[in-house]
Amino acid sequence: MPKLTIDGIEIEVEPGTSLLQACEAAGKEIPRFCYHERLSIAGNCRMCLIEVEGGPPKPVASCAMPAADKMVVHTDTPMVRKAREGVMEFLLANHPLDCPICDQGGECDLQDQAMGYGVSGSRYFENKRAVEDKNMGPLIKTVMTRCIHCTRCVRFTTEIAGVSELGATGRGEDMEITTYLEQAVLSELSGNVIDLCPVGALTSKPYAFSARPWELTKTESIDVMDAVGSNIRVDARGAEVMRILPVTNDDVNEEWISDKTRFIWDGLKRQRLDTPYIREGGKLRPASWAQALSLAAQKIKAAPPAAMAAIAGDLACAESMMALKDLWDRLGSPHLDCRQDGAKLGAASRGDYLFNSTFAGIEQADALLLIGCNPRREAAVLNARIVQRARAGHFSAASIGAPMDVNFPCQNLGAGPRTLQDLLDGRHPFAATLQAAKRPMLIVGMGALARADGAAILAAAKKLARNVGAISTEWNGFNMLHNAAARVAGLDLGLLPGAGGLDVAGMLEGAKSGAISLVYLLGADELDLSQTGKAFVIYQGHHGDAGAHRADLVLPGAAYTEKSGTYVNSEGRVQIGARAGFPPGEAREDWTILRALSESAGHKLPYDSLAALRARMIEAAPHFRHVGAVQAATPGAPAAAGSMGDAAFVSAIRDFYLTNPIARASSIMAECSALAARHSLSLNQKDQAQ
């Protein structure tokens, strides 16, 4: 291991470490623009210059120079200072002085470093270079005159997002960053270039000119748009969410979030349920909490336990699901389900429904089989890990399901269960690839399980995982990829039909036939509620979407930014998000609504505080104690579960941008969705033309 001296501090670093990293390790901050830990090294901004003794008498770009034994490095000599001042002067020679109207102001690397290394005056009196702004779609605002050509955005889209959409044309003094013919950037991760841009060239279009970073309250929370559980920071001014940014968590989302996660916030302001509503004469009228709760209690008391059903939706927090489960147990109804999409998942063994290898485990996998899932649409941040793994080489990926537009090399083996059976029987050549792999990985999506033969497919997938050695003592590559943020917590807490209980399809059927007379929807919107007959539907949620549209009684709840909620991601990682603001109007935190309802209905739940409720959750599922951690689990033995059908696997997500009520209320998401639809239409036309 190389041992070197940095400003008099002796330090030993791993071989291959760059001087910049070595300086960081020694506690010396090195200014930089183009260097980024998660991107390849470009070495083009020259801001990280340092002095190395014994070398040529000139400063060295520390990001691109590997640390070597016996090097003597200085980071703060007159030569270094002068060099950095010079670089800064060149950068500022063409950078506009528009900080007062720039959205990057206050969180701008160039602004900060100009304070540290800049000089107060300029020696340049020529006109500054002006660059035309480029169209990059509805999410990224461009002011290209501000660009300093660090190429972080180009490297990000190519290396992490897996789409080569951005490039640098006219390299040289006329270099410009652009997309091909100024087409909109279509990556699901495009918003991350806004964070990566060290200046104000790429900023958030929806957030433009709306707030300054220092006037925002920053709250760390957990994203619910998918089952990745990305760590986020919700920036709010008063009660209004102004923007959402990623928080670094190397185990979960590294430092990226998907565009849906980032730009969902305008949906939090529209279509909100801010007061209880009671349906009278076919129309919903505003009501008070007292009226709403007494009506709900009356209906609950009137219905026999076997005629009551409850469905927990995809965005529900673990707290509200625990309260719902306890209430339903007390009422004596077995009809309870959290599998809104009808996925054939059981809670017999936790390893059956978790992403067992963990997301970080993707880096170790050497063969991947996707069964009925499209990670690009279902978990965009997770997909970035697969893209990086594929780029690293010695990795083969294949999929079973309808052809899809994944952005890593992926062989499509077939459309449906028959191909899975072929792999199981060893008839398909890819079976040998999986067998030969040291750490084979299977990812089963909800597209393969949310169907009548889902249980049989799950059993077959499990069997295949065992056959190819994906489940052993040191490696567990049997993975389930969920789409609903609430799903794993729901399964953990046992929100499944009890003895003789009906599942979601059964409940809806029962409501149609009249066997079910009361349906309680805890934020469940992605259902066909048109056939629920005369059943009395209570909808508890935060947005006026499908559920509220059908409901006879609406109880306004809180969205994920408005409550402290526990979520369990696909890996089984328990994470708690903090509250960034209060719910609007009369809306309340969800567990308190259920607690109040239980009292009105004469079955009082025994917890009066969030702490008491969380203690109850730990009692029900002990792993809730370990916040932030994953408790390893092993899949159970595959059970005989009927035979598989013939239908092709179709990804559970049809439209990435419109998967939940918040997204459907967001105009930004609507715009993105329309753009994506236009793009795929033009691609289809192109395919047909060929």
């Binding site: 080569s164 490039g167 044309t169 006219g170 390299r171 006329d174």
Partner: protein, 204 residues
């Protein structure tokens, strides 16, 4: 040099001729599997030749598809190298050298003749479609300054009159004498040899 952009007026499509397709296939084969993108400059150059001397937007897409490259990567290459013309040019593209040696030897008057005779600004095409011209940096013909490159050939030792004559010949469709216009051979001394005038031990 100005900002290099694709021409606003683009044809609908581009296709390599069968002979050029064969040539491209050979060119692509020179590179190992997975490194086909290395052939991008060769293919663009061939495409430019076939297309009357300029690179079109459809051509960029065709080359991108042939090499499995994202279009933006091909565009990056096309906008970087000035040897790719991004707009239509005349039959004769005159590149007038303006770097110091040519300038000291009178490139200003050469430029003035070119500009006045053609009556168009740089990068514009004359009405008859024969000529367009640009100023360039060093062509590397300093011994024979000033120099103009017409398409692939150098015309050297120019002055105002010789430049006019050169343009006349080109306009008439004649092939002017390539190289020095003063009659000297390559870059031998302008006033005749001063050394090596005899062969050692004998007559020259």
């Amino acid at each position: 040099m100005s900002v290099r952009r694709l021409c606003a007026d683009q044809p609908a499509s581009f296709a390599f001729s069968p002979e050029n397709l064969d040539w491209c296939a050979k060119e692509i084969k020179k590179y190992p599997e997975g490194r086909q993108a290395s052939a991008v400059i060769a293919l663009l150059w061939r495409g430019q030749e076939q297309n009357g001397g300029w690179v079109t937007e459809p051509m960029i897409r065709v080359v991108g598809d042939m090499l499995a490259m994202p279009y933006i990567r091909v565009l990056e290459v096309a906008t970087f190298y000035t040897m790719f013309n991004l707009a239509p040019r005349g039959k004769y593209l005159l590149q007038v050298c303006k770097t110091t040696p040519c300038w000291l030897r009178g490139s200003d008057e050469v430029t003035a003749v070119v500009k006045n005779r053609l009556g168009v600004e740089q990068r514009q095409v004359t009405k008859d479609g024969l000529f367009s011209w640009i100023e360039v940096e060093c062509l590397g013909g300093c011994c024979n300054a000033p120099v103009i490159q017409v398409n692939e050939d150098y015309y050297e030792d120019l002055d105002a009159a010789k430049t006019g004559a050169l343009l006349d010949q080109l306009a008439r469709g004649e092939q002017p004498k390539i190289g020095s216009q003063t009659g000297r051979r390559s870059s031998e001394p302008a006033a005749g040899l001063t050394t090596l005038t005899s062969v050692a031990g004998g007559e020259r």
